[in-house]
Amino acid sequence: MSIGRPTSELPELSREEILRYSRHLIIPEVGVEGQRRLKAARVLLVGAGGLGSPNALYLAAAGVGTLGIVEADVVDLTNLQRQVLHGTKDVGRKKLESARERIRDVNPHVKVIAHDAWLTSENALEILSGYDLVVDGTDNFATRYLVNDACVLLGKVNVYGSIFRFEGQSTVFCTADGPCYRCLYPEPPPPGMVPSCAEGGVLGILPGLVGLVQATEAVKLITGVGEPLVGRLLLVDALGMEFRTVKLRKDPRCPACGTREIQALIDYQQFCGIRGAEPEQPPDGVPTITVGELDARRRRHEDFDLVDVREPHEWEIGRIEGARLAPLSTFAEALRTFDSARDLVVYCKSGQRSAKAVRQLQEAGFRRVWNLEGGILRWAEEIDPTVPRY
């Protein structure tokens, strides 16, 4: 399989490019033609984050002629532990700007096309149609189904990678005869069931490992070398340092690539069960207290209990003074140690888990319980800057 144009239409290499890519050119399987194929290739990176970073750096270095990047985010300090495309000086800048600058330094021959947007059902087909191959480095299920369906509809190959904590998955979807993402996972898990990297964490090195598997596959597909990761799902386990593959099959019942009943892009937020905006909104009926109100109650030396429902490793990072730890994972056991006659304020990182804890308390008959809006993050932001943000 070799993506792109007939040999006669491939661009020539300049003298500088011949020297730059000499270690490629002397590999018989790549050679001048393979390098010209790389130069002709147009690769779209969806996301310039953990997976997008190694892809961008190595595909640029390898001489991919055109790299499109879809990204609307700005660089945050918490990104730098793994997003090696961006540096400390870039914090607060648009990721697209730091990406463009870094890629230009790595290889000025690469044309960078910046798509300053989130990929949506409205723009996906137009954006993807300009590329030969798509590298999926997004961080949520909705965009993954969107990328998949757009690739199936347009006949673009989707080089897939995903990560969580110490584990990763990679494969090549949407080739002419191979399976697609929906063949593997027909439906997404309900919202909140699978934590994101922002919620659950990720070993910083892992996107490097998995992202470079994607980049390797992209280079192989472009040059036509080797056996692509089609019909095989690579499972990466960094803890056991084991790599294994399981067999993927094209599902004839798949609504995207099998029966083809999906003929247009759908509402992927709805498909993934995400209700409208503000995913951080806690469930209805949970009484809340703002960080300002909590601060005022403390200053007035009012008598109440403050409960932190995060896990012990988060408690180690920082806490609100005077709180007691009662992790949500074992909250049912801790519940009977609380005094329902006293006022109870519950917090977690951002207010989601503590809302669940408040629900449990209400079900157990507690009446004077409040959820701290925005959790310890908002407390750190608005009240006590000495509490670390994480």
Binding site: G49, G50, T138, N140, Q169, Y185, V194, V246, R249
Partner: protein
């Protein structure tokens, strides 16, 4: 039949922190029921309330997807390995 069940770290937390389990059962469904008996929280992560597999948690019996065989009714040969692969989306 005796087999090996291999869990990702994300599910191993619900199984005493262990990723590799020796399991018994004539079918994949029996294996899942057996391990769910030992680790009830893991059970809810492997199958729904009706005892059916979720469309986002895959089971590979000796590297083959059981959906393309007989699902949870797929027979488990002695010494087989079952790998559980849940959908993850981080990037």
């Amino acid at each position: 039949m005796s087999a090996t069940l291999r869990l990702p770290a994300v599910l191993a937390r619900a199984a005493g922190g262990t990723t590799v389990h020796e399991v018994r059962g004539a079918t994949v469904g029996e294996v899942v029921a057996e391990v769910a008996g030992r680790f009830p929280e893991l059970g809810t992560r492997l199958r729904d309330a009706r005892g059916e597999p979720y469309p986002y948690v895959m089971f590979y019996l000796d590297d083959e997807d059981i959906r393309f065989q007989q699902g949870f009714a797929t027979p488990v040969p002695d010494g087989a390995e079952i790998v559980v692969v849940p959908a993850i989306a981080g990037g």
